[in-house]
Symmetry: C2
Subunit: 206 residues, 2 copies
């Protein structure tokens, strides 16, 4: 009997996951929570074998935070990310934080159940599209943007000019340009708009 905790802010999704889990004989919903903050206590409280964790909890925080909290509290319970986003950044962050798998919400019930079983058995469970994306990344490893570069890129995406960025970042305009040229070479583009587009494509930005 595998006891599952469902953590998602959408009532509809909670109900759907619960229905799927409960329809399988040897799976049971141990509990449901709607905010990341309640995950840690819930894992303790109910004897949870596997956590189904959403990534985006609206304004209440993120699933990755909850995952970090969990690990900081010494819990080793396998956590299965179940989300509708498949951006590279999200996937990497989740896996680095110690997720046992990454499933997509458009998955068939079978895939979900299989993922839960795998996680409970200590194995890794990745949705096919996610696995493909990671493989692709390994093949052509993008050079990672530094945090400063990302910061600049975000401001660019919000429509700021170089001088405006320089003001808000309290650096010279030259610095901003420098960061941007680095971004361009790393992303293999030649203009700010292209850079924003590429970054979005690769899931580097919201």
């Amino acid at each position: 009997m595998i006891r599952v905790l469902i953590a998602d802010d959408h009532p509809v999704v909670r109900a759907g996951l619960a229905a799927m889990v409960d329809s399988v004989p040897d799976l049971v919903v141990a509990g449901q929570v709607a905010t990341p903050g309640h995950v840690v206590t819930a894992v303790d409280e109910f004897r949870v074998d596997v956590v189904l964790l959403d990534l985006s909890f609206g304004k209440d925080g993120s699933g990755v935070e909850a995952l970090h909290d969990l690990r900081n509290h010494g819990s080793t319970v396998p956590v299965l990310i179940v989300t509708s986003f498949e951006s590279e950044r999200d996937i990497l962050a989740a896996i680095e934080a110690g997720a046992a798998g990454y499933l997509l919400k458009d998955a068939e019930p079978d895939a979900l159940v299989a993922g839960i079983r795998a996680a409970a058995a200590g194995e890794m469970a990745l949705a096919p599209r996610v696995a493909q994306r990671m493989a692709q990344r390994l093949r052509s490893p993008h050079e990672a943007l530094t945090s400063r570069e990302l910061e600049v890129l975000h401001l660019v995406a919000s429509g700021a000019s170089n001088s405006q960025i320089a003001n808000t970042l309290v650096v010279s305009e030259a610095t901003v340009k420098s960061h941007l040229t680095h971004v361009f070479t790393k992303l293999d583009v030649s203009s700010r708009t292209e850079a924003v587009h590429q970054a979005r494509q690769r899931g580097l930005m919201p």
Copy 2:
């Protein structure tokens, strides 16, 4: 007894909506479909009183298409949009296509059931956030972009330069610039990146 059709491409969401509907005594799930193309026949086949329709069906089409098909076939069944997107464009398109309401997937079960009842009774059902957004739009009516302007803006968003846009649209570069200045004044911005950002904010672009 209100008979509900559920149309969504995500199995999890279908299961969740079904669970919610079935938990109410006088509501019943008449059927479920996973693609927009099956909505019309399903409405005929099962005696459907209300349709819960998702907007984004992945690559299989869109909910608005299904809604149009439905109306073209003479059906007047109330259709309730249930989606997680709340962009102005989506909302307007749905309402213009004859939706009986627009709910968000993060809604509580109560709100969902209330929406279904309202739709079945021939009333309108809007999620609070959606209603707020529409009210906001009525207060400050953005000047609508022409289709050509939107076309140009899309290309800008994808990182194209003016000359590239001119090529793909087979017009002069001057024309592109002209369109863009119009876009700028309408959106009250002064640069292409700002324009893209604003358009995204207002839900004019994907």
